[in-house]
């Protein structure tokens, strides 16, 4: 059967189908590749084709106090968001999956809803709330705002893992005499750990790349990297932006690899 299939004559329809999809992949990936070209191109402004290879834009990026302050602030916030969303989201997912709560589908949809509502409105609403509360725009307010939009990712990956694992493992441990607390710490927790961590890494990226939620919540001189890049790009379009972009892309790529290592990318296919 296979041999017969392989001997099929040249199939123009299929070739067109594969070519089309190849082109679409180029459309998806080329813009990201192009950023690298501009990050290495020594010309003082964005110009094509590139004339050489230099690291001057990376030097400019890493030497600029403005960019560096923003980078460290973004990393610090993303780190806090990572920890907070693992604790809050992991607990929430466990409660949803194992807590025998009434109205579970509604609760799940509710905790997912920050992903569905316009992020810029979440930022606006928090801005209004902080304004009314008269607390200014503190960094912890920004961290909690990011945590709010990052928690759904942790809930999703943790629920996916909880959904997949065999509940009988927990029941077996209980039958063998383990207390519920011991079952939780020695069976459930180790089993969901990859899902929780993968969600946490996702939460880190969501916070690190976050723009719409941050827009109204940052203070001058206390802006995160995406906001600084956005403001810079409104007036200047040079290789420093490309270098900064490259740094965040490399960060994201390494995260993808970590994710793939931890639980595989399948968990993200379920939107």
């Amino acid at each position: 059967m296979k041999a017969v299939l392989n001997k099929r004559p040249f199939d123009a329809g299929h070739a067109a189908y594969v070519t089309l999809n190849g082109l679409l992949l180029v459309f998806l990936l080329a813009p990201i590749a192009i950023v690298l070209v501009f990050a290495l191109n020594p010309m003082p402004y964005i110009s094509f084709p590139p004339v050489g290879v230099s690291l001057r834009w990376f030097e400019k990026f890493f030497a600029s106090a403005e960019f560096m302050n923003a980078l460290w602030l973004s990393l610090w916030i993303a780190g806090c968001v990572l920890v907070l969303s693992i604790l809050i989201g992991g607990g929430c997912a466990l409660a949803l999956a194992r807590g025998s709560l009434p109205g579970r589908p509604f609760l799940t949809a509710f905790f997912m809803s920050p992903l569905m509502l316009p992020a810029i409105l979440t930022g606006l609403a928090l801005f209004q709330a902080y304004l009314l509360a008269g607390i200014g725009r503190p960094v912890w307010g920004l961290i909690l705002a990011h945590t709010l939009v990052a928690v759904p990712y942790v809930i999703r990956t943790t629920l996916a893992v909880l959904h997949n694992f065999d509940r009988r493992i927990e029941e077996a441990a209980a039958v063998l005499g383990a207390s519920p607390v011991r079952v939780f710490f020695e069976v459930t927790l180790p089993l969901i750990r990859p899902g929780v961590f993968a969600g946490g890494v996702f939460a880190f990226i969501v916070s690190f790349d976050q723009f719409p939620v941050s827009l109204f919540l940052v203070v001058p001189k206390g802006e995160t990297l995406p906001v600084v890049l956005f403001n810079y790009m409104k007036f200047d379009l040079d290789g420093a932006i490309a270098a900064a972009s490259m740094v965040s892309i490399l960060l994201a790529l390494s995260v993808v690899l970590v994710l793939e290592r931890l639980i595989g990318l399948k968990a993200y296919v379920k939107l």
Binding site: L29, I32, G91, L117, P118
Partner: protein, 291 residues
């Protein structure tokens, strides 16, 4: 198995999330709605009074810009959605029907990689491609196809191109799930009964993937009408959308009350879309809904 009994102690783990969501999600949206019906800040301004004037300002639109902004937002969202569907469907179909696991993983990586790159960075990438001295115009001039650069950016065209690139992965992922669940043998049966490949696709696979098309389109539409970064960088002075208007009211006009009213209007449009999206997904996957 206590699916119907009382909540178990583990339900308490929900408390931190519930607290976060009430204080930093439900309450702020309530504040936004409240601000939109006040003349000023009701906490520190004793003269602030209840008013519908922010909504009237939008509805009567004496300045003649708000309706245009709403219309531009919806138009850009609609065109972005249609193009994302046209681009996303072949990719999703390819991925769903791919036999090789490695090939599937690679395409999936290629689709997800842009999602993990920030919106600001991806918009920057398109600026370098579409601007006057960008990649496309340089090549076109070099090859003698045009004398002066084509206006690819600082207009609606550039905005839509970048938005499609940013949101097409969401379309692909939604569609892949749905197409993957369609039994391939149905198409094979149609073909063995004499239908050509195209006819089998149009009459079998396409109708069966309709819920996915609808869900993916609603998702991309909801995302693109709330985009801020891309229209404000790629649109130049040509494009003014609702989210840009909101940012203007907060940033330059400092009118948080009118911004609140605009926010409520955008929220209502989004909510309608989200509810429709959830209905479709719930019908697709039983009770699971968004999870």
């Amino acid at each position: 198995m206590t699916t119907r009994g009382r909540p178990s102690p583990i339900a308490w783990l929900l408390a931190p999330a519930a607290l976060l969501f009430v204080l930093f999600f439900v309450l702020p949206f309530g504040v936004m709605a409240a601000m939109s019906v006040f003349s000023g800040n009701p906490v520190n301004n004793p003269n602030a009074f209840l008013t519908t004037r922010h909504y009237e300002r939008f509805v009567f639109d004496t300045a003649g810009i708000y309706h245009d902004a709403l219309w531009a937002t919806l138009r850009i969202g609609l065109i972005t959605t249609i193009i994302s569907l046209l681009i996303g469907y072949p990719l999703a179909h390819w991925m769903a029907r791919m036999q090789s696991r490695l090939g599937h993983a690679l395409v999936l990586m290629a689709v997800i990689a842009p999602m993990l790159t920030g919106i600001v960075v991806r918009t920057f990438a398109w600026m370098t491609i579409l601007q006057d001295k960008g990649v496309i115009n340089t090549l076109l001039i070099q090859w003698g196809l045009t004398d002066k650069p084509l206006p690819l950016m600082y207009n609606e065209f550039g905005t839509i191109v970048a938005l499609v690139h940013i949101y097409v992965p969401f379309m692909v992922l939604t569609l892949t799930g749905v197409i993957g669940r369609i039994d391939e043998r149905l198409e094979q049966a149609a073909r063995s009964l004499g239908a050509g490949r195209l006819r089998a696709f149009v009459e079998v696979t396409l109708p069966l993937s309709l819920p996915g098309i609808l869900a993916g389109s609603l998702l991309v539409f909801a995302l693109s009408i709330s985009a801020y970064v891309t229209p404000s960088l790629m649109g130049g002075t040509d494009v003014l959308t609702l989210p840009m208007l909101i940012a203007q009211q907060v940033g330059t006009s400092f009118n948080p009350n009118f911004a609140g009213a605009l926010g409520v209007i955008l929220l209502l449009v989004s909510l309608a879309i989200v509810i429709a999206y959830n209905r479709i997904l719930a019908r697709l996957s039983g009770e699971q809904g968004l999870a």
